[in-house]
C-alpha cells in the first residue's frame, strides 16, 4: 500500500496534489472528483467584489498561457456564505486564497475567514495595479503582511511568492520569519504578447502572467533554491502537467504541488498525476513520499 499523505507543518493532506487558485470554480466538481484531491485552493478573494480586467484576458503562448484576469471575484463574504459551504461537501482540504491592496485589507480578510485548512496569501499577482507582485517583490512588505495575517488567524498561513522578485529566497525567508506555515512557489511570470494586427499588446494592461509547461524549468529552479534555504515546506507550482513533472518538483524539494493551467489542457491531469505517482512508487518500491524525498515531512 502506497501512502501518499503529506503533513505540511500541521496541515494534513491525503495526497500532495492541490488544485491551484484561479483556474477552477465550482463547476469543475462535475469533471474532477474533488474527494480524490489532496486539496483545493479557491480563487483569490478580496474584501469587496472586483470586476476584473477588460477582455481579452487570456491567450495561448508556446506551451503555455498568459492571463490578465485581474482577480475578478465576488468578495470574501460571498466566499464564506456561498462557496465554502458548497466546497465543504467534498472530502478534501480547502484553502482560501486572499488578495488585499494594503496590509489592513489582508488582516481584515484573514480575520473573517474560518473553517478552512489554511489561508494562502497572494502577494504575487502580476495583473493588478495595486498590491500583487509589487508587494511580493519586497521582503519587508511580505514580512509585514505575513505577520499581520498570522496575528489575525490561527489557521496555517501559506505565502504565495512571485518569481519576479530580485531574490526570492530572501522573500521566502521573510515569510518564514513572520510565521508562515508554508510557501507556495511560484505564481505566474510576467510576460507580454503583442497582437501583430494592431501592433499593440494583446492584453489591455500590457503585461500578463505566464503559466503552463513553458515556465516549468524556471519555476522549478525557484522552488529548488527556496527549499534549500528555508525550513518551512514549499508547495511547488508552475507548469506541472504529468506525474513526471510532479516528481521533478518533489526531488527539487517541494512537499506538495499545485496544478493550475494543466486543467485547461486536460481536466483530469490532477487525478492522473495521483494515480500515476502511485504506480511509479509501486514500481520503484517506495512506500511513502518521505522515503522519496527525505527532506521534509
Amino acid at each position: 500500500m502506497i501512502d501518499l499523505s503529506v503533513n505540511l507543518s500541521g496541515i494534513k493532506l491525503k495526497n500532495p496534489v492541490i488544485l491551484a487558485s484561479g483556474v477552477w470554480d465550482l463547476p469543475y466538481r462535475e469533471i474532477i472528483d474533488f474527494d480524490r484531491l489532496g486539496g483545493v485552493i479557491y480563487k483569490g478573494v478580496s474584501l469587496k467584489p472586483k470586476e476584473g480586467n477588460p477582455p481579452p484576458r487570456l491567450t495561448e503562448t508556446p506551451c503555455g498561457v498568459i492571463n490578465s484576469i485581474g482577480l475578478e471575484n465576488e468578495g470574501v463574504m460571498n466566499f464564506i456564505e456561498e462557496i465554502l459551504p458548497t466546497l465543504k461537501e467534498s472530502n478534501t482540504a480547502i484553502f482560501s486564497n486572499i488578495f488585499g491592496e494594503s496590509i489592513e485589507e489582508f488582516s481584515k480578510l484573514s480575520s473573517l475567514i474560518r473553517d478552512v485548512s489554511g489561508i494562502e496569501v497572494n502577494v504575487s499577482c502580476p495583473n493588478v495595479d495595486k498590491g500583487g507582485l509589487l508587494f511580493g517583490k519586497d521582503p519587508n512588505i511580505v514580512y509585514s503582511i505575513t505577520k499581520s495575517v498570522c496575528n489575525e488567524t490561527d489557521l496555517p498561513v501559506i505565502v504565495k511568492l512571485t518569481p519576479s522578485s530580485a531574490n526570492i529566497v530572501e522573500v521566502a525567508q521573510a515569510a518564514s520569519d513572520a510565521g508562515a506555515s508554508a510557501i507556495s512557489a511560484v505564481n505566474t511570470f510576467q510576460g507580454l504578447v503583442i497582437d501583430i494586427e494592431t501592433g499593440k499588446p494583446l492584453l489591455k494592461r500590457g503585461v500578463g502572467g505566464v503559466s503552463g509547461p513553458a515556465i516549468k524549468p524556471l519555476a522549478l529552479y525557484n522552488v529548488y533554491q527556496i527549499a534549500k534555504s528555508v525550513d518551512i515546506p514549499v508547495i511547488g507550482s508552475g507548469g506541472i502537467t504529468t506525474y513526471q513533472d510532479a516528481l521533478e518538483y518533489f526531488f527539487a524539494g517541494s512537499s506538495a504541488i499545485q496544478i493550475g493551467s494543466a486543467i485547461f489542457n486536460n481536466p483530469l491531469a490532477p487525478i492522473q498525476i495521483i494515480d500515476n505517482l502511485k504506480k511509479w512508487m509501486e514500481r520503484k518500491g517506495y512506500k511513502n513520499l518521505k522515503e522519496l524525498k527525505g527532506k521534509y515531512e
Partner: protein
Amino acid sequence: MPPTYRILPVIENRSLGPYTYLRIEDPEMLLVARCGHFLMVGFSSSIDPFLPRPLSLFEVEENSFSILVKVRGRGSDLLSKTREGENLKILGPLGTPFNPPESGVLIAGGIGIAPLYYQSGWMKSGKLFYGTKKKEELILTREMEERDFTVKTITQENGGTVCDLVRMNKNDIEGEKIFICGPWDMIRALKEILGEFARNAFVYLERRMGCGLGGCKSCAVKTNSGYKLVCQEGPLFPLSEVRFD
C-alpha cells in the same frame, strides 16, 4: 446533465464549402446535447497548442456528433488536418442551453452558420439571413430550406453584407425572435440596424477561452450588468444586454 471530459476518435473528416466537417464517435452526446451548447476541443497528447478550442455543436446523431471548423489560426488548422482514427479531447457539452422558439429569424455571418444550423434542427421553421464574403462560403442553404426555413443570402462579392440584407428585409423580422451569430463588427452593426427589434434579438458571442467551465474567468464580455462569462452564462446573450464600448 453535467458535462464530461473524454478522449474520442474522429471518424470522418471532409470539406463542407471552405470549412472542415469533423464527425466524432460518441454514443452519449445525443442524450445530453441541447440547443446552445458548445464543446472545448483539445489535441490529444499535445501541450502545444496548450489550450483546447471552443467549437459549437453542429450536428448530433445517434452515435456521433460533428463540428464545423473554419481555419483561422494554428489550432483550427491542426483540427482541420485531423485524420480519421485520431483522438481529440472533448469537454462538454458546455454553456447554458436554451429552448429556441418554434419559429424565428436566424442571422448568420460566415462560419456563424454553425451554431445556427444546429439551432435550426430544434425549430419547426423560420427565416435565415445569411451573408458571406464569397459565394463558395454559402453552405447548407438547401438543407435549411428542407428544414422549412426561408433562406435569403448575400455575398460581399455580389451585393453586400448580411447587414444590408437585413436592412432590405426589415419587414420580415417584425415580431420575430432573432438569433445572430457572426463577427463582432457585424453584431454591432446589426444592433443599429435592428433598432427596436433588437429587443427580441439574441446573439452567440465568441471569446478566447481557457477552461470553458467557468473556472478561469477569461471569457468575460461586458454587459449592462457587468462582466459575464461567455462559457457559463452564454454563449447566447440578449443583444440588448451586450455592451459595445
